[in-house]
Amino acid sequence: MADLAIRTRNLTRTFGSVRALDDLSIEVPPGAVFGFLGPNGAGKTTTIRLLLSLIEATSGSAEVLGFDTRTHGADIRARCGALLEHSGLYERLSAEDNLRFYGRAAHMPKAELDARIQELLTHLGLWDRRKEAVVKWSRGMKQKLAIARPLLHRPSLVFLDEPTAGLDPVAAASLRDDLAGLATRQGSTIFLTTHNMAEAEKLCSLVAVIRQGKLLAVGSPAELRARGGGQRTEITGGGFSDGLLDSLRRQDTVSQAFVENGRLILVLKNGASTAPLVSLIVREGGEVQEVRSGQGSLEEVFLTLMDEEK
């Protein structure tokens, strides 16, 4: 087995004058749940297409499971599962037939395929409705089935492109639990793209942030929080006017300032002190009752990185 599940070196892809992916160099160890975070149009889907050898790189190179994407596309696809931008389900077919088709495509023996279909559909609570045409299902059920599909043949590497996009919070949380359970039991490497930071924080052991094709940061969620997000200060009180927020945002030590549920939230750059800011708030007519400091969330790290790159 390769010592890395994925390794890219200066991977670049242009479409006309647009650099969809710009000098991307990442390494993903086997067994990791790798979160690839970025806003819409950041280059996440392009990266997956390149890694699956569905499109060719303009320059740079990539190895997936030890195979070069330029020369061993078929070998890579045989060892990977992929849930891409769309669910990819054949809606006229039943859930069972959808899985059977992709199981046969993965050359699974019939007995193993039957058992695996039962295992996955039972785990996801879909077994009783396996004979129904998928078109009759809710979006959440379809998405569960769509996640079962790439896991079917127990691939070494699974690509999941925004698997919870478009789902309501309850369905998304349920799907995340299912995904975490399945991934843990199977031991596959997972390459997960998302712009849902809570999802990444919950599932991923390693995270990379990308924007306009460029890699901004990579590390474990804890490392990123410590490195890029600085500290989060929550101030309870009142008088948090727009003018005060503008004054705070102009401070060099402040990455973000906003009001959330009546509390003033400040995201500070590393090493910044809260005291001068509290003084500023009071001077500008704000009232401070309580100050609480802690580490920022991954979402705040992400937003800070996005702001810095503007």
């Binding site: 569905l54 078929a74 990977c80 931008e85 990819g88 054949y90 046969r104 993965a106 050359h107 599909r149």
Partner: protein
């Protein structure tokens, strides 16, 4: 390759049948063909005309029409329903995907043609039961019945897949294919009259001097050559990177 081909064929065949049985005009179309060309027409025309080899050309033509409706969906439908990229991300080879889709369409067209011929034979035999059992007896008829529909349907399927590979929607593929089909048919009908006089004379001599079986075999070889040329063009056009980005 064989396993992948059969997998694609199995999926396509299921989708074709489910599409045809899912209600709407598509579900009725094969039944209308069978009722019209398998019951009504044979019942009216009687055994002598029905068991004429020329009548089998109708079934051959029918298979081509049926395939036109199915093959447009092959790639354009996958693209429209957002299943194409997932299919391309599977381990299956380009050829297995392409050949499986073409073969399923041809098999469907062939099945409808054979169903019309079988139902027609039953209709004629029932309506003229006093004449005893009747069936196709000459070699040319059997050749047309067995290889005519797959060869002609094959030309439509391989040509259609070229269009479907690039079409954005099924409707666009169907329209392009329909127009192309009409141009070829009209061209064949009116094109023969614009041939040089000595060519027409040669063609006339061939039709008189050659046996029907020989004419059928030569025509079959010609259509097979067209099928293979279109199939190779389809293989050249099937490029994952272009299909993903189109």
């Amino acid at each position: 390759m064989h396993t992948d081909f059969m997998t694609v064929f199995w999926k396509e065949w299921k989708e074709i049948l489910l599409q045809r049985s899912a209600g709407g005009g598509g579900a009725r179309q094969p039944l209308i063909f069978i009722a019209l060309l398998g019951i009504f027409v044979p019942w009216r025309m009687g055994p002598q005309r029905f068991f004429n080899p020329a009548q089998l050309l109708v079934f051959t033509f029918l298979s081509a029409i049926v395939v036109t409706a199915v093959i447009a969906d092959a790639f354009a439908g996958e693209r429209e329903r957002h299943t194409l990229e997932t299919l391309l991300a599977s381990r299956m080879s380009d050829r297995a995907i392409l050949f499986g889709k073409i073969a399923a369409a041809i098999a469907y067209g062939w099945m409808i043609a054979i169903a019309c011929a079988v139902v027609g034979t039953i209709t004629v035999n029932v309506s003229h039961r006093e004449d005893g059992f009747m069936f196709y007896r000459d070699t040319a008829s059997w050749i047309i019945l067995l290889i005519g529909p797959p060869l002609v349907a094959g030309a439509v399927a391989t040509g259609g897949v070229l269009i479907s590979l690039r079409a954005a929607t099924v409707r666009q593929a169907q329209q392009t294919l329909g127009i192309g089909f009409m141009i070829i048919v009209v061209g064949m009908i009116f094109g023969s009259s614009s041939l040089p006089a000595d060519w027409r004379a040669w063609l006339g001599r061939v039709l008189v001097e050659w046996s029907l079986t020989e004419i059928v075999l030569v025509a079959a070889a010609g259509i097979l050559a067209v099928d293979l040329a279109l199939l190779m063009a389809g293989m050249a056009r099937f490029q994952r990177s272009k299909l993903v980005l189109d």
